[in-house]
């Protein structure tokens, strides 16, 4: 068990290593060189020479790479060109926002998705099932940003039920210890702040959750269908085991295996969907900062954030793989 985890972590290292190589050479491969890319229209020959000196772009490539790698390993991911603050700091400031949103979306996706998937499978062939299948198909193909825009229009602009932007009403002077706004509101006892933060999570959360929700619904449904028609379920029923036990311990538990596997993948979808969703709702997480960094060619931010996200994604996948062996005893025996 621990050996598997250790092995997987070890495998992670060359992958990340390769990623840094890729990122490094991407930036250097840009036309005109990285200095021109950094400066944009303001690139005059003198400024280019200055930047080259400052960032050491004139050194041989290998040397540059190892200097950069060394900095990375020391935790120095450079400074954002736009905000002039360390990339690490920018990431840590905004990550709780995205994490809060992502957790909300995952809870929604898993909770609702498994429920609907199970419900549809139990009513296979009936109109309810067809509707669920169709709805999940739409859920998969609808673009996140379109859904976000529609939600915003219906619930914020037209009905005014929910706020349309941001994380919190600026008029509420809320204290933030952990930067997880809902949590902060709860631990400081500022219930109105917590509630307000929660309201701000709803629309972007729904938009973000939709695709994973649809996928989880489909997988749950397919899995439950397969399990409920299997021999051991039939045997259980023949033996007279109560319906509740059959549903809970036989069907549900065994059909959850494939679902757990995809949750890790969904996390990746959520992280990438965050870019689009946060743009639509002006939600100040890493997604919106990243999209701004794209426009302003803020390369240190781009490189740093991508590496961070890759690490997080890999760790999540590893955690899911490990949990898989807890849930499925067959895997454990190996």
């Amino acid at each position: 068990m621990l050996r598997t985890i250790g092995r997987r972590l070890l495998l992670l290292v060359p992958t990340l290593f390769g990623l840094t190589l890729l990122l490094f050479f991407w930036v250097r491969a840009l036309p005109g060189g990285p200095a021109v890319a950094l400066l944009g229209e303001r690139a005059t020959p003198e400024r280019v020479a200055e930047i080259n000196e400052l960032y050491g772009f004139n050194e041989p490539l290998i040397a540059q790479y190892f200097t950069w790698l060394g900095q990375l390993l020391q935790g120095n991911f450079g400074v954002s060109i736009q905000t002039q603050r360390p990339v690490t700091e920018e990431f840590l400031r905004r990550f709780p926002a995205t994490l809060e949103l992502t957790m909300f979306a995952i809870v929604l996706a898993v909770g609702v998705g498994i429920t609907i998937g199970y419900w549809a499978a139990r009513r296979q062939g009936k109109p309810a099932d067809h509707f669920a299948v169709f709805a999940s198909l739409i859920g998969i193909t609808i673009p996140v940003f379109f859904l976000g825009v529609i939600l915003k229009w219906v619930f914020a602009v037209q009905l005014g039920w929910l706020p349309s932007d941001g994380r919190q009403d600026p008029r509420l002077d809320a204290t933030h210890y952990t930067n997880f706004y809902v949590f902060d509101g709860i631990i400081t006892g500022e219930w109105d702040a917590a509630w307000d933060a929660f309201l701000h999570l709803i629309l972007p959360g729904i938009a973000l959750a939709t695709i994973p929700l649809a996928i989880i619904t489909r997988i749950t449904r397919a899995s439950v269908l397969e399990v409920q028609n299997s021999d051991y379920v039939r045997t259980g029923m023949a033996k007279g085991i109560s319906r509740g036990t059959i549903r809970g311990r036989f069907i549900l538990r065994n059909s959850l295996l494939p679902v757990v596997t995809t949750i890790g993948l969904q996390f990746g979808l959520l992280l990438s969907g965050a870019i689009l969703t946060e743009s639509v709702f002006a939600y100040p997480g890493i997604g919106s900062f990243l999209s701004r960094a794209i426009f302003t060619r803020d390369y240190p931010v781009l490189q740093g954030f991508i590496l961070f996200i890759a690490v997080i994604y890999a760790i999540i996948n590893l955690a899911v793989d490990v949990s898989y062996s807890f849930i499925d005893p067959r895997v454990r025996v190996q």
């Binding site: 992958t15 390769g18 990623l19 036309p31 739409i138 193909t141 609808i142 996140v144 940003f145 825009v149």
Partner: protein, 320 residues
């Protein structure tokens, strides 16, 4: 195969009653025709295949015949005089603009039609990039094995270590603001999928009987790969290509929504139309709704067809 294949008993005698009550199965057994005929036959019976096919057909036709179908050019702004700060005409309000105008004064109908063309081109090219790149990598990895295989798969893992949209976004961002950048970016994100697919398919085929017998007969490795293994691996690749087209359309829209892909604000691309539509939601929601529906329906068409194809090729449901 069942006893429906046996000739009827010459006289009297017990007749096999496991009659094939399914006309289609009977046709399959008597006409045969091989894998593809079979797939096509099953596809024809699947309603979602039809729906998907029709949607794709319309989309492709609109895209190809855009210059003749669209009343105005892709970047024309014929309706500028009808735009006021608080009012943008919606569908049916102004004669000559059946679907209304956008915030710049462009005709929505024309924009949507030209957008179909842009989406089709980007979708096809990026899927091709992913397909060809992935197939080459998968082919090399599976054929040579050993350290070549490991190296290539490590590279694929690296590409997969970042969620695909993020990967596409970063590549497009670093490459510059051109449509070509988008196509390569989305394609690059698809490469690992195809590479893994082809490699797995080939490895699976490799241990199958017909390959072993071909090798016994003395066929060289290259020959075996080309004329035996590859054609059989094509099936899943086609399914994946169709599904990737759906993803490509959505991701392309997403990237142009973020502003990557160059062009001017009034460029006729569905994703780009949504970027600016956001600002006018209270004034005229149709500017946002129409392109969004186009993206969704198009992606839906490809998804339906792809899934129907997958079902038609699934060996478990085939060998009945």
């Amino acid at each position: 195969m069942t006893s429906a294949m046996l000739p009827p008993a010459p006289s009297g005698g017990p007749v096999d009653d496991t009659a094939v009550d399914d006309k289609e199965l009977l046709a399959a057994k008597t006409r045969g025709g091989g894998f593809w005929r079979d797939v096509f036959r099953r596809l024809r019976r699947n309603p979602s295949a039809w729906v998907g096919g029709v949607i794709i057909g319309i989309f492709v036709l609109v895209a190809i015949f855009a210059p003749w179908l669209a009343p105005y050019g892709p970047e024309e702004l014929p309706g500028q005089q009808y735009i006021t700060p608080g009012h943008i005409p919606g569908p049916g309000e102004v004669a000559g603009f059946p679907l209304g105008l956008d915030r710049f004064g462009g005709d929505m109908l024309s924009k949507l039609i030209w957008g179909a063309r842009a989406s089709l081109v980007i979708g096809i090219v990026s899927t091709l990039v992913g397909l060809i790149g992935g197939m080459i990598l998968g082919l090399i990895a599976a054929t040579f094995g050993g350290w070549v295989d490991t190296l290539i798969m490590r590279f694929v893992d690296i590409l997969l270590s970042v969620p695909s949209l993020l990967l596409a976004v970063s590549i497009a961002a670093l490459m510059g603001q051109t449509p070509v950048a988008i196509m390569i970016a989305i394609g690059a994100a698809q490469v690992p999928i195809f590479a893994r697919l082809l490699r797995a398919s080939m490895l699976q085929q490799r241990s199958s009987d017909y390959v072993l017998s071909a090798a016994t007969l003395g066929l060289g490795r290259g020959r075996i790969t080309m004329s035996h293994v590859l054609p059989n691996a094509v099936g899943p690749v086609i399914v994946q290509a169709t599904l990737s087209l759906a993803t490509a359309v959505i991701e392309a829209a997403g990237l142009s929504y973020l502003g990557l892909g160059g062009g001017v604000p009034q460029t006729a691309e569905w994703g780009r139309m949504l970027t600016y539509a956001q600002l006018e939601l209270a004034v005229n929601p149709w500017i946002a709704i129409l392109p969004g529906i186009c993206i969704t329906v198009t992606a839906l068409g490809f998804t339906l067809l792809g899934e129907a194809l997958r079902e038609a090729m699934d060996p478990r449901t085939r060998a009945r």
